[in-house]
């Protein structure tokens, strides 16, 4: 009995927690398949299910543009941030570039509420004539992901990595070769995990896009928010759009599970 309880109780707890986390998702999926009136019915009704809303978001709203913007900005900003963050992390860890002061300075930029940074950034883009462009959004997202990713990667270049690199240098490698042929491949799981996080950071970012984007450069989070109009919330298309915008993250999930856990659990050297 006792052993049975030990087996069952955790499952009950986990099931409850899973339901709490999954409920909003299930709710959104249900709403996306019904219409606005049914969506707000209490107690909930299933009503007639259909894919109208999914057609709707593509026909009535520039959903494809939002999606493409999100994707381009997330991919490009991550592709730029990742090598830079890797090099930064390496120089912090192995060369102690700038000492503790620079490291903390980089982190401090993330301590500020983004709302404080967004208006000066807008001013800068206005000055150089980049407002409402995708470039401005990529740069803005870089300002978030670069400090974050470099801090995340520092630990991968510390500790035993120094020995590996020394071994490579005695073996005949230059500093660059030691970095590219040994340090980077060994830190690859971490770099990959950092890349995935960078992508998600950009994909979900709202505030900078809200202020800096224009009609043609809005991303999904801002686009979705625009469905909450003064004429009421377009809850059903909103739900459908949310479901579609979740798909890339779901697609990344298998990689995330594998590499994020491996990447974050260090000790990859032993």
């Amino acid at each position: 009995m006792n052993r049975l309880a030990k087996k069952i109780v955790p499952h009950i707890i986990l099931t409850v927690f899973s339901l709490i986390i999954l409920m909003p998702l299930v709710w959104i999926v249900r709403v996306s398949l019904t219409d606005k009136l049914t969506a707000y019915k209490i107690p909930p009704e299933i009503g007639t299910l259909g894919l109208n809303n999914y057609v709707d978001i593509f026909e009535r709203f520039p959903f494809v543009t939002w999606f493409a913007n999100s994707f381009i900005i997330a991919i490009v900003s991550t592709a730029i941030a990742l090598p830079l963050a890797t090099a930064m992390a390496y120089s912090f860890a192995r060369l102690n570039t700038g000492g503790a002061l620079l490291r903390l300075g980089v982190l401090a930029s993330q301590m500020l509420p983004p709302i404080i940074l967004v208006l000066p950034l807008f001013g800068v883009f206005l000055f150089v004539g980049l407002t409402q462009s995708r470039v401005s959004l990529i740069v803005a997202h870089l300002s978030i992901s670069l400090p974050f990713l470099s801090w995340m990667l520092v630990s991968f270049f510390e500790g035993d990595m120094a020995r590996l690199e020394e071994a490579a240098r005695v073996d005949g490698a230059s500093r660059w070769q030691a970095f590219l042929l040994v340090a980077v491949p060994v830190a690859a799981p971490g770099i990959l995990a950092a890349g995935l996080l960078g992508f998600i950071l950009s994909w979900n970012e709202f505030l900078f896009v809200l202020v800096l984007s224009g009609p043609g450069t809005q991303t999904l989070p801002v686009g979705l928010a625009s469905l909450e109009t003064h004429a009421g919330v377009e809850i059903a298309p909103l739900a459908a759009a949310t479901v579609v915008s979740l798909l890339p993250v779901f697609a990344l999930l298998p990689f995330l599970r594998k590499h994020l856990i491996k990447g974050l659990s260090l000790g990859a050297l032993k």
Binding site: D160, R163, L164, E166, A167, A168, R169, V170, D171, G172, A173, S174, Q177, L181, V182, P185, V186, A188, A268, L269, K270
Partner: protein, 374 residues
């Protein structure tokens, strides 16, 4: 192959800590040299300066007669084996071995030949396709060694390579390294804090302490004639017994070393050497194996009365731990035959072989020079 010369090498870290203090050492071409010392003595820093992984603050470093102070590690043509092996975890064993050769643009066919030869030499052929994470500690050790061997460098630098292995494996790797050195004849500099490794492997031992070289010499030379109390107490287990005493004149040039209730006559051959210290305090060094149960020739041994503290039965021998009968001074360790037994508190008399006595100056801790063998 090459000789390695350190000429007044100093390493001062940015925080003003002096790790190595003007060290000079000639490592001969093809020699197996041991750098021995407790942790923090500067031996690893010295090795890293030879490798080029640590900048030299002052002094000259020569490998094969060429000054290498400003030469990149890659261009020094030396190989290093680290304590934690530092195998490239993302490469197979074969690729680990090939890495240095590829960087040096050795032709692929030559690389393959060399890898096969080294793999055969170390018995790691079946491991060539594996990743380091799939190897045991001993296998990683072999691969790390192989990675150094395959390069056929001017010299091998070994940074405590055996300290992560279990006792059995360590002892067999010791033998294997000695054999390898015999086969290859390449210069080896081996850093260790293990005095057994130092005694058994080295052609010469360089003992370091606090960034200085204390003594350099062949193992038995250092063992028999330690330069100071540090070397005396660092080599061998149990180490040399060091007891406070005093040299006293007993007339007609004859001297005795007096300790609490014990008087050891100084052999005639040493009298001239010790005469100037007559009447002064000394530290008396007695090796545990120079205590005997039976008295020898009266001129050659002297009785010492002891009280047993305990005995450590090791199997091949018994270590007697005792105090002088007067109860004063530090514990004395004596190496006894395997069937020796003594009860706690039991008084007994052992006979010390006077020709093996070493005396040290208590102020400088340096040995008082005397003829090596009477």
């Amino acid at each position: 192959m090459a000789s390695i010369t350190l000429d007044k090498i100093t390493k001062v870290y940015p925080n003003d800590v002096t790790a190595v203090n003007g060290v000079s050492l000639d490592i001969r071409d093809g020699e197996f040299m041991i750098l021995l010392g407790p942790s923090g003595c500067g031996k690893s820093t010295t090795l890293r300066m030879i490798a080029g992984l640590e900048a030299i603050s002052s002094g000259d470093m020569l490998i094969g007669g060429r000054r290498v102070n400003d030469v990149d590690p890659a261009d020094r043509d030396i190989a290093i084996v680290f304590q934690n092996y530092a195998l490239y975890p993302h490469m197979t064993v074969a690729k680990n071995l090939a890495f240095g050769l590829k960087l040096r643009h050795v032709p692929a066919s030559e690389i393959e030949t060399r890898i096969n030869r080294v793999a055969a030499l170390l018995g790691i052929e079946p491991l060539l396709g594996r990743k380091p994470s799939q190897l045991s500690g001993g296998q990683r050790q072999r691969v790390a060694l192989g990675r150094a061997l395959v390069r056929e460098p001017q010299a091998f630098l070994l940074d405590e390579p055996l300290s992560n292995l279990d006792a059995t494996l360590r002892s067999s790797m010791r033998t294997e390294l000695i054999k390898l050195h015999h086969t290859l004849g390449t210069t080896i500099v081996h850093v260790t804090h293990d005095q057994v490794e130092a005694m058994t492997m080295g052609e010469r031992i360089c003992i370091m302490k606090d960034g200085d070289i204390v003594q350099v010499g062949e193992p038995m030379e250092v063992y028999r004639n330690p330069a100071n109390t540090f070397v005396a107490s660092f080599l061998a287990t149990p180490p040399m017994n060091l007891l406070p005493g005093r040299i006293e004149s007993v007339g007609a040039g004859a001297l005795v070393v007096a300790m609490d209730g014990v008087a050891l006559p100084v052999p005639t051959a040493f009298q001239a050497a010790y005469a100037s210290h007559s009447g002064k305090p000394v530290i008396v060094g007695l090796r545990p194996e120079d205590f005997h149960l039976a008295a020898g020739d009266a001129a050659r041994t002297a009785p010492i009365d002891l009280v047993t503290i305990t005995t450590e039965v090791l199997g091949p021998e018994v270590i007697l731990v005792a105090n002088l009968a007067s109860g004063a001074g530090p514990e004395i360790h004596a190496r006894m035959p395997r069937d020796f037994r003594a009860k706690i508190g039991q008084p007994l008399t052992l006979h010390f072989d006077l020709a093996e006595i070493q005396l040290f100056d208590p102020e400088t801790t340096r040995v008082l020079p005397r003829p090596a063998h009477p």
